[in-house]
């Protein structure tokens, strides 16, 4: 079973980190990427434009029921949660989680619920603890967890919380994340023993 999706979350300091990460991925990267970057309620499409300037991948600000597309960076719009469904994305105005909407936890948990061992979750720099729960859900369901090394993060709180919640997560310096994602995208996921029902 190969990986099917990458979910990436970032907060404070995320714009620079996300630009660097996405900028190091090739245009033919084979997985869809869903990005939640915390942002103000009223912010517009500028984030998508900035990230588009940084990467060869196609950047798209998510519209409801948008299909997941390989090599596309699907960005959570301001003030909506993003839920990963089977092959597409749904938006929701459910209440903020840990004061955040979009919430990294909501996005990553839905990746875990839908894609299980085929999901990769990545947590980058940030000044809160969003993402830790979602990353933990991904690992519980057999998926793969990557965390930016807190020592290379502009603000270490978020990656710290992620590592604390998921001690088995791979901790990599920012510049190590893209090569690892490329390798994972080519690799077959660990074969999970099928449990007898």
């Amino acid at each position: 079973m190969a990986y099917s999706i990458v979910g990436v979350g970032s907060s404070w300091g995320g714009l620079a980190a996300m630009s660097k990460l996405l900028g190091a991925l090739p245009a033919n990267f084979s997985l869809p990427i869903v990005v939640v970057q915390h942002r103000s309620r009223d912010s517009d499409r500028l984030l998508a434009e900035i990230l588009q300037d940084a990467t060869d991948l196609t950047v798209s600000e998510i519209e409801d029921k948008e299909p997941l597309t390989p090599g596309t960076v699907h960005i959570a719009p301001a003030n909506y949660h993003v839920l990963i469904d089977d092959g597409f994305l749904s938006l929701s105005l459910e209440e903020p989680v840990r004061f955040s909407r979009p919430s990294i936890d909501v996005m990553l948990s839905s990746a875990a619920d839908t894609y299980g061992p085929e999901a990769i979750g990545v947590v980058l720099t940030g000044a809160n603890e969003d993402g830790a729960q979602g990353l933990s859900d991904i690992v519980k369901r057999g998926g793969c967890a990557l965390v930016q090394d807190p020592r290379t993060a502009e603000i270490a709180i978020m990656p710290h919380a992620a590592v604390k919640a998921v001690p088995s997560a791979e901790v990599l310096p920012l510049e190590g994340l893209a090569p690892r994602l490329i390798a994972l995208s080519r690799k077959r996921a660990k074969v999970r023993a099928r449990k007898a029902v």
């Binding site: 499409r45 600000e61 998510i62 519209e63 409801d64 029921k65 948008e66 299909p67 719009p77 909506y80 839920l83 990963i84 469904d85 089977d86 597409f88 749904s90 938006l91 929701s92 105005l93 459910e94 209440e95 909501v106 948990s109 839905s110 875990a112 619920d113 839908t114 299980g116 061992p117 933990s136 859900d137 690992v139 519980k140 369901r141 057999g142 998926g143 793969c144 967890a145 090394d149 020592r151 290379t152 998921v166 001690p167 088995s168 997560a169 791979e170 901790v171 990599l172 310096p173 190590g176 690892r180 660990k190 449990k195 029902v197």
Partner: protein, 292 residues
């Protein structure tokens, strides 16, 4: 700085009750929703799956249960549990002049069209507690169109409709609404439209003179008139694609030719077969005109 890269397997945690059995979970959820529909009449069967799953699990965890099936037993046998779940499943997020840019664009691009009609029929589908209905009424009044307009404001939920009718909104949100109103191109002082009363902001009752609040279920009910404008913002995002498409047929059938359909700012017709029937007016706002 260099950090040792562990090639260790990333799934060290023991799979717990949440171990990955998506097919089985789907069966359980479909059975629960079918049970709710047949026993209580609430139809969530075609709601967007990932979102409904998340909200069901929130209730399951809050009740200290461990599976959807366990929740099913409680919900079917205890009406109080259904009540709780109903609250979990309804999302009533709204604000006056929500997305001010939309109202600004509506004034610039839709109002001139409406001026050409002797009588204007508007359907606000999924109006929730009514904030956006009052916003539209204010806009129409300021543009001199209110007296020849009728707004049909509908929602599935009778409780929120009662609140919409009352027209009392939290005072503490008036600052935010005033900011929205100004950015939406408001022409007067926002405080002229309400008085502080009953611990809230009571809106001018003349604003609802031409508003009909009524219960309507987008999932099961049919068209009830022909409209010049249909507003349905951030309602269809909770439906799956099949139900969205069904509701779009309903909207299409309910719109007069050259009528205007308004969706939420992150909703689209791109993935719908009705896309070709509409032209988008003034993108990026999601205002579409029926052209065929």
């Amino acid at each position: 700085m260099a950090v040792p890269v562990a090639e260790a397997p990333s799934s060290g945690a023991e799979p717990d009750r949440q171990s990955f059995k998506p097919d089985l979970e789907r069966i359980e959820i479909e059975l629960l929703l079918e049970g709710i529909f047949r026993h209580y009449g609430f139809d969530f069967r075609a709601y967007a799956y990932a979102s409904i799953r998340r909200r069901l699990w929130k209730r399951i965890e809050e009740e200290g249960l461990s599976s959807v099936s366990a929740l099913q037993e409680r919900v079917l046998h205890e009406p109080e549990m259904m009540e709780k779940l109903l609250l979990d499943l309804s999302i009533n997020v709204t604000a006056m002049f929500r997305d001010p840019g939309f109202y600004q664009t509506f004034r610039e691009h839709v109002v001139p069209l409406l001026r050409t009609y002797p009588f204007i029929r508007i359907w606000h589908a999924g109006c929730s507690t009514g904030e956006e209905v009052y916003s539209m009424a204010i806009l129409l009044r300021e543009e001199g169109l209110y007296d020849r307009s009728r707004i049909y404001a509908t929602d599935i939920n009778e409780v929120v409709l009662q609140r919409a009718k009352a027209g009392i909104f939290p005072l503490e949100r008036m600052q935010e609404y005033t900011d929205n109103y100004i950015r939406a191109g408001g022409k007067r002082s926002f405080s002229e439209y309400y008085t502080a009363k009953y611990g809230g902001a009571l809106f001018d009752q003349a604003l609802t003179k031409n508003v009909v609040f009524s219960q309507h279920n987008l999932v099961t009910d049919r068209s009830f008139s022909e409209f010049n404008v249909i507003l349905c913002r951030n309602v269809l995002i909770y439906f799956d694609k099949t139900l969205q498409s069904k509701v779009h047929s309903l909207f299409y059938d309910s719109l007069a030719m050259f009528g205007v359909l308004v969706l939420g700012s992150k909703e689209t017709l791109r993935f719908m077969s009705h896309e070709d029937c509409y032209q988008q007016i003034a993108p990026p706002e999601k205002i579409f005109r029926k052209v065929r």
